[in-house]
Amino acid sequence: MSETLRRRILSTTCIIGFFVAWELLCLLFHVSEIVLPRPSQILATLWTRFPAIWPHALQTLYTTLVGFGLGIVIGILLGMLIGSSRLAYDVAYPMLVGFSSIPKVAVVPIFVLWFGAGTVPAVLTAMIMCIFPIVVNVATGLAATEPELQDVMKTLRATKMEILWNVGLPRTMPYFFASLKVAATLAFVGTVISETVASNRGIGNLMMIASSSFDVPLVFAGLFILAALGVALYVIFSLIESRVTGWAVRSNNFAAGG
């Protein structure tokens, strides 16, 4: 246990050290807060202007979670389709790769054209940002299912649905959760892109307005909030992952829990 404790202390120290170094270097070289505010200034801004920032943060979180949720549902369905059908794979894969190569900023104006500025384009942008990694991972997971495990089911005369439900999907869970951690952070990127371009609410919009009035500490406060939300979501999914797919990691904690 002392080994893990030491590792934790060391990593925490290094992370704090990064911000301390940032603070000190800014002080040392007299960097103006319009160029790069110090962490202490950013924290102070967060504290004093919290009532103004709070609704925007909530809006961004809400938009991201809705987009992320939609992305998960569509991603799983598409992934299952692609992973279990050769034709669907041949058709959908090139299209997905092409689609994901399009910069999402370019798509936002189209969404705005269709649905008007505001929450809907932000949700949709978040959704399309996170679909790709989920689809690819779910499809890979299904394709990676050992034929031996499928044979076990086939000799029992299991139906396709039973095989998918009892072998395919559980086998895919580690891949799925790995993609969720990537997708969760990508969803934030999608939301903020859309908010920056076409919304009057959300952290993206807040940062846009702040930067146009050279309120750089507020811009950085927005970045801090985004980073914090991203980390929080990542941690939540890591925790769920270790509970659901502990068998793939084979840690001792899981054995005790199972």
Partner: protein, 278 residues
């Protein structure tokens, strides 16, 4: 299933391969995995298939298991053509192939969740009757108290025992064994032979065992079919006369040794033919 003569009437045998052929590949580089083969196995027989690698042993097993379709001929299991039936089949593979996300109990219970008539009552009985059934089955193979463990927490031999439990939990009429003891050490193997034999004596399922091990075949089976490769076919079919229950001591008896010796010679000859052909 094309270009075959008139469909024969199904007989009373559990397994009935009628002039079955299996080929892989297209017209140009076609490989015959199994030349025209007929094999009949009666109810309650314990048949071992032995032979060199690539002789089509596993092909026959897969045909009966339904994971492979014959290119020609008919495969009957329990008097019905394969695929359209509800014969209860249990199968154990060379690897334990336990599902890594389920604990041992749930792994062994899997067939009860899939196979009728057990699956209809799965939701209500999984915590009571089925659970007891699994525990009893685990206890028989020396795995009492391991139900909560996950496959990776068990040794290879223990996993293989659990896999045997899974193959037998739904009282299959037909048990297919694809070298299930092959990857185990000598002592574990002999221990599992004994367990296997007891299970067979008790429930009398029809068993089709694929193995490389002649001693294993002679110890367990009541009939041994020797196969030869290129193309795969059955070249010898002999009855094993020893009384049951057999013990490991039987394997040192002169009749036993001469039987395995004779089988060995057949296989060596088969291999020689095979090498000359290649």
């Amino acid at each position: 299933m094309n270009a075959s003569p008139a469909k024969p009437a199904p007989s009373g045998n559990v397994i009935d391969l009628e002039k079955v052929r299996v080929t892989f590949g297209g017209d140009k580089n076609q490989v015959t995995a199994l030349a025209e083969t007929s094999l009949r196995i009666a109810h309650g027989e314990f048949v071992a298939l032995v032979g060199p690698s690539g002789c089509g042993k596993s092909t026959i097993l897969k045909l009966v298991a339904g994971t492979l379709t014959a290119s020609q001929g008919y495969v009957f299991v329990a008097g019905r053509e394969i695929g359209a039936d509800h014969v209860r089949i249990g199968m154990a593979f060379q690897n334990p192939t336990l599902l890594p996300w389920l604990n041992i109990r749930d792994n062994v219970m899997l067939p009860l969740k899939i196979v009728p008539p057990f699956k209809q009552a799965f939701a209500e009985k999984r915590k009571s009757e089925y659970r007891d059934r699994v525990e009893a089955s685990l206890a028989r193979v020396g795995l009492a108290g391991f139900g909560e463990k996950f496959p990776w927490q068990l040794s290879g031999g223990m996993q293989q025992r659990a896999s045997l439990c899974r193959a037998l939990i739904h009282d299959p009429t037909l048990l297919l064994l694809d070298e299930p003891f092959g990857a185990l050490d000598q002592f574990t193997r002999e221990e599992l032979w004994e367990i296997m034999q007891n299970l067979w004596i008790e429930k009398q399922p029809t068993v089709l065992l694929v193995t490389h091990d002649l001693k294993e075949a002679a110890y367990l089976a009541s009939r041994i079919c020797v196969m030869q490769a290129r193309p795969g076919r059955i070249v010898d079919d002999s009855v094993v006369p020893f009384d049951r229950p057999r013990t490991i001591d039987v394997s040192f008896a002169p009749e036993f040794v001469s039987l395995t010796q004779r089988l060995r010679e057949r296989i060596v000859a088969a291999r020689a033919v095979q090498e000359a052909a290649s």
